[in-house]
């Protein structure tokens, strides 16, 4: 609702952002599409030739591709589940009256500030290392064999590291949402005879749905392109056990310097990301309208 004047002003003010993002998307993307139809190895310049869909064929039939697809979904899903369940639990806990709430909140929020590279290095070397790591020490102290996290549960280990980084984010949003819950509603439900569990399911959770939606949306955006954590800890291995799509594309284009193959992979990743985006927007768009 506005005048033609303000509408054209609005278009003018929106345009820098749209044009920049469009440029940022289209220029490299069209180059990538172009490269994806070439046989183009960075180490052999001057040998580029048109090869049709060969790069796509190789990328999509690569046994690593399906592993990577699965791992990507597991990684995103796993981290989302851990952070949301953990975030709700922590939120409920911190919503209680406690001494030193401010300090606890500072402790809980801290991992969010840590660079992904640093957190991966610290977890890998100082905690998960089966010989010198702290977990190995604890295991030995109670008489257990140290567990080799990155070799025997590589994907889970990465999920844990990433979840550690994102738990503060989820906790804070959910905590704030909990704090805005009308206390009278809960009391009314209690008067109506709802148990704690019922109050949680019928009152608290619906109230949190919007906050959970935001957590899912934002985290998915970042989790789809988790990269540094894998590069630092497992290099995608052993085998393809912790290779996600992003890492697979990286391996193609920057380990093998197969720019053609990497570009095809990049385009496939873009398509997949858009499928996820559409799903997400459908699911979430409604929840955000209100």
């Amino acid at each position: 609702m506005a005048t033609a004047h303000s509408r054209s002003a609005a278009r003018l003010m929106l345009s820098p952002a749209v044009i920049l993002l469009l440029g940022w998307m289209i220029v490299p993307l069209s180059m990538t599409i172009y490269f994806s139809f070439l046989s183009y190895n960075l180490l052999m310049p001057g040998m580029e030739e048109y090869v049709g869909f060969l790069n796509y064929e190789y990328f999509l039939t690569d046994p690593a591709f399906f592993a990577a697809l699965f791992n990507t979904l597991m990684l995103v899903g796993g981290v989302l589940v851990i952070t949301i369940v953990g975030g709700v639990a922590l939120g409920l806990l911190l919503d209680q009256p406690i001494w030193g709430q401010g300090i606890v909140r500072i402790l809980v929020i801290a991992p969010f500030f840590v660079m992904p590279t640093v957190s991966a290095l610290v977890w890998k070397n100082m905690f998960m290392n089966p010989v010198n790591g702290l977990f190995a020490y604890l295991a030995k102290a109670v008489g257990l064999q140290p567990f080799d996290f990155l070799a025997h549960a590589p994907l889970l280990s990465i999920i844990l590291i990433v979840a550690w980084q994102w738990l503060p984010f989820a906790t804070l949003i959910l905590l704030t949402a909990l704090q805005s819950l009308d206390q009278e509603q809960l009391e009314a439900a209690e008067m109506d005879g709802a148990s704690f569990g019922n109050r949680f399911i019928y009152i608290v959770l619906p109230h949190l749905s919007r906050a959970i939606t935001v957590v899912v949306l934002i985290q998915t955006i970042f989790l789809l392109s988790v990269f540094a954590e894998i590069l630092v800890t497992t290099n995608g291995g052993p085998g393809y056990a912790s290779t996600n799509i992003t890492y697979l594309v990286y391996a193609q284009s920057l380990l093998q310097f197969d720019v053609g193959g990497g570009s095809a992979g990049g385009i496939v990743a873009v398509i997949l990301a858009n499928i996820v985006a559409v799903f997400l927007m459908r699911m979430i768009g409604k929840n955000l309208e209100a």
């Binding site: 609702m1 506005a2 005048t3 033609a4 004047h5």
Partner: protein, 333 residues
Amino acid sequence: MGNIVLKQITKSFGDVQVIPPLDLEINEGEFVVFVGPSGCGKSTLLRLIAGLEDVTSGEISIDGTNATEVPPAKRGLAMVFQSYALYPHMSVKKNITFPLKMAKMDPAEQERRVAAAAKVLNLTDYLHRRPGQLSGGQRQRVAIGRAIVREPAAFLFDEPLSNLDAALRVNMRLEISELHQTLKTTMIYVTHDQVEAMTMADKIVVLQAGFIEQVGSPLELYHNPRNKFVAGFIGSPKMNFIEGADAQKFDAHTIGIRPEHLTLSTTEGMWKGVVTVAEHLGSDTFLYVNVEGFDAMTVRVNGEFSVKHGDTVYLSPDPEKLHRFDQQGLRIA
């Protein structure tokens, strides 16, 4: 200054026409109230005059010049919003000064006008407070202050009292009326409350679904409503409407009779009914009477009149004050 003429203006949002072709003339110095049920287009009409919305077709002229394409700031109008729309990050003084600053007025003149407005509105002691530290009535006055310093051609009020409690509302109503007496500037006032319309207006414009149902002075509307809608909308409690055989007796499709124009008797009358609720207000008593054959009727009687729930009473209309309407709801003269 302050003569506003609307010629054949229409407004559509997409395919929906919210204002069909409409003509209206507002004279200089008039206090005009747009009244109607919510969604009748009265706020949209005000926003069209303000320039916050474009007209789809037609022409708006202010003081004889065509203002249809003129941006809001240049129309020389001031507006008071329902939510007051004060700038929360500015002090009262800065709020009031803002339009003057935007007009790049001489600072000394700015000072003078703000001081004058503050004095008129009793805001002098609050000039350095933020809107958040003021009561609802004070905020309302700041919003008005911000409007008057500009010395506009006309004031536009968009339901300005709806966020105030009942007592304050009566006060502010008086203050705005007084302000109008002092300034003698055109004022256009939008409300859904017919009491505000009746008490403040020189001229009432009754709107329904974007149509102007009737334009006239408060008493004109009260006494000679042009149609059933206006008759039902103006006046409190609402007019009683009777259809069917009883209306036929008066050569009409529908007859309307105001609660204050019914006489009540415990012994005889035209219609017999049973009292369902009696509201004793002290000076007056409103009775809701279930009359056989048609709906409940409202009757206004003297406060001393003693009846209670379940009593049987007889009602008779004052034939002089009877309103008759045809099948289309138009008044039969």
